[in-house]
């Protein structure tokens, strides 16, 4: 029997060997951090510090504004030197707090509570909320919102997403190898908060040692199952993961909670454990700095707010001419326009592609209707039609072809023999019409 998976998808070279072998290293403490107050999906935070104020590591500097929001904490101890608009990784100006590191590494208060499993679900959830935890796979959706399903949605399973299907990235892989126990604890906390009996950890089968490690860590834990999944992009997309593990299909435009599932990323599970046990807010994360254009690919434990240029320097700088620096993976990540932007809670990797590997598409071919994108589309859409309609400005018509069911995984663009920027055209169409 084949490994669990979904229909469609593609097989790009995974390129994980570049960084997979290097253990997580704590990055040099940054001299200065620029912490955006909007690192998550939802309302930006309100700053609650003022210029000149001394802050400690882990101190809250931004308060959530609304239900779908998440607090932001200082990742260093030091002095607030500026509050204002700074460009984020996507090039948008975002209100940010700039803190100068005094190097004292003073924490607000970290208390070890080994008895955390005896806390009530409500208390645990409060800790997750206070720690400012968001989905660390990339989307950065506030975790506490996912943990607060409306009463009528009965949740019966929690999935930990260890697929890490983006080529190059190895952050989740290293966490599963080095912090397997903690990830399992995180899953147990999630199961307790949601009151479910079944927990699954899904890992793509190109990481057999991670599968073995996690199986070992989960051995003897009631209701937790570790599953190897077929290596196929986008296996780590929520809907695809649920289909592969539970055989359930999330209906179009619905959420995982509509089929009784909550999915969390490996890194998020670790953050939840640390929040529940130590009360540690989310102020650092693992970032894979990799690609053929970087001298020494590494997996770094990075403070939120560290500049990308600092990370590149720490990894030995560029090797040869860097053509593109991408935040995230090559499939769904986005190219950075400046290296002076910060690592945020959703930054899973910094990928440097050398100039010779970058294709500049000035002109692309017409759609020849070969249908490869249709076969590749995990959502069962017709990217060919969407791209043609978008190209001609028929945005409303694109909705008939389920425009808004596309989650922009980029598989269509990867397989297109005419090198058409399909996913970009889809994004354009999405921005031109209302769902």
């Amino acid at each position: 029997m084949g490994l669990a998976t979904f229909k469609g998808g593609i097989h790009p070279p995974d390129k994980k060997t570049l960084a997979a072998g290097s253990s997580i290293v704590v990055a040099k403490p940054p001299k200065i951090v620029v912490i955006p107050l909007s690192q998550h999906i939802g309302a930006p935070c309100k700053p609650i510090v003022s210029i000149g104020q001394e802050v400690k590591k882990g101190e809250i500097i931004g308060e959530p504004a609304g239900f779908v929001s998440s607090p932001v904490h200082s990742s260093v101890s030091g002095k607030v030197v500026a509050i204002g608009e700074f460009p984020n990784a996507m090039g948008r100006m975002v209100n940010s707090v700039v803190i100068e590191n005094d190097g004292k590494e003073e924490w607000t208060s970290l208390k070890d509570n080994p008895d955390y499993m005896n806390l009530s679900p409500e208390e645990l959830k409060e800790k997750v909320k206070a720690a400012g935890i968001v989905g660390m796979g990339g989307a950065a959706f506030p975790t506490v919102v996912k943990l607060s399903p409306p009463k009528e949605k009965a949740i019966d399973a929690v999935l930990i997403n260890g697929a890490e299907c983006e080529p190059y990235l190895t952050a989740d892989y290293r966490l599963m190898i080095e912090k397997s126990k903690e990830v399992v604890e995180g899953l147990k906390i999630l199961m307790k908060i949601l009151g479910v009996q079944k927990g699954y950890i899904g890992i793509e089968n190109n990481k057999p040692d991670a599968v073995a490690k996690m199986k070992e860590a989960a051995a003897g834990e009631a209701g937790i199952e570790v599953l190897a999944l077929e290596v196929k992009y986008p296996q780590g997309a929520e809907k695809m993961l649920i289909k592969a593990i539970l055989g359930r299909e999330v209906p179009p435009r619905a959420l995982p909670m509509d089929v009784g599932v909550v999915v969390q990323n490996v890194g998020t599970a670790l953050a939840i454990y640390e929040a529940a046990r130590f009360g540690k807010p989310l102020i650092e994360r693992v970032v894979t700095v990799t690609g053929e254009g970087i001298a020494e690919p590494k997996n770094l434990m990075v403070r939120i707010g560290t500049k990308v240029s600092d990370l590149i320097e720490e990894c030995g700088g560029f090797k040869g001419g860097a053509g593109k620096v991408i935040s995230g993976g090559p499939m769904m990540g986005f190219a950075l326009s400046s290296l002076d932007v910060s690592v945020t809670k959703g930054t899973s990797g910094i990928l440097v592609i050398p100039e010779e590997n970058v294709t500049h598409v000035d002109e692309f071919g017409p759609c020849i209707r070969c249908g490869r994108c249709i076969d590749a589309c995990a959502m069962g859409l017709m990217p060919s039609m969407l791209s043609v309609l978008s190209e001609r400005g028929f945005y409303e018509e694109a909705k008939e072809y389920n425009l808004f069911d596309c989650f922009e995984c980029g598989s269509c663009t990867y397989v297109c023999p005419s090198k058409r920027p399909i996913v970009q055209l889809v994004r354009l169409a999405k921005s031109m019409v209302k769902p």
């Binding site: 809907k239 289909k243 359930r248 299909e249 999330v250 209906p251 179009p252 619905a254 002109e363 071919g365 017409p366 759609c367 020849i368 209707r369 070969c370 249908g371 249709i374 076969d375 589309c377 995990a378 959502m379 069962g380 859409l381 017709m382 060919s384 039609m385 072809y401 389920n402 069911d405 005419s418």
Partner: protein, 320 residues
Amino acid sequence: MWTVSLALLPALLSGVYFFGLKALFVTASCIISSIIFEHLYMKIVDKKTVVSDGSAFLTGLLLGMNMPASLWSFSPFTAHVPIVASFVAVVITKQLFGGLGFNVFNPALIGRAFALISWPKAMTIWSEPSAAFLAMDAKTTATPLGILKEEGVAKLLEVFGDKMSLYTHLLTGNRAGSLGEVSAIAILIGGLFLLSKRYITWHIPVSFLGTVAVMAWVLGGKGALFTGDPIVHLLSGGMMLGAWFMATDYVTSPSVKNGQIIFGVGCGALTMLIRLKGGFPEGVMFAILIMNCFAPLIDRSFKSKVFGAVKQTKAKEIKQ
């Protein structure tokens, strides 16, 4: 495109083997004039020439392979037919409809249809296959389908000896016909190559050939049902070339898999309808062209199934 052209090589070689250099001349004049017309058109409308994408080359190649080798003749003069047909294929059928990717009809087939209707006599002079390479004046004869249509199975068997000999002739290509369509084996090699390279999928060829086989078996006999000979129908005429190389053209066939099956079945049914009931002995070309019209419509009605969509309707049913 270049891979598809490569896959056509065995069939082209078999054509040259059976019909001599004339076959090569006809094909070459189609290819060369297709490329020239494409280039000229692009110059006139001031667009960048994309001859390197192989589209014009492939159109010319397919067009040439769909013509009788006897067209290479100077008395009566018919050597201009491939050139005019190429113009119709590349400029009228493809470029005037918006260029590659936007043409409704298969350019090579329209080119051939145009030639067949404009020069019905020249387009149906079938030389007898002979391995005489340089022979310029071959004896003419009728195609197996022509014999079947006009004189019946008995005559066909009489010409070829017995059933086995008929099948062998059809398989190898030792029979009259368009220069690239005769050898079923050579085409099959190319088709399977494309299949293994995943340039095409099984959906269109299998549904096309399957429909033809079933219809030939059920309706192809004289008098009684279920007495027809599917093998003769599968191996003769433009069947193989059509099913593997013409109907599978990306641009003019549906891109959704379910739709491709409908398309293939439609091609097969129309082919047999024309072969058994129509005025022409062969129907592959018109069948594919007719189904080309429906390709966009089929794509619209057989939209791919959106992930999770069926589940939703099922859930609704359960609720009710």
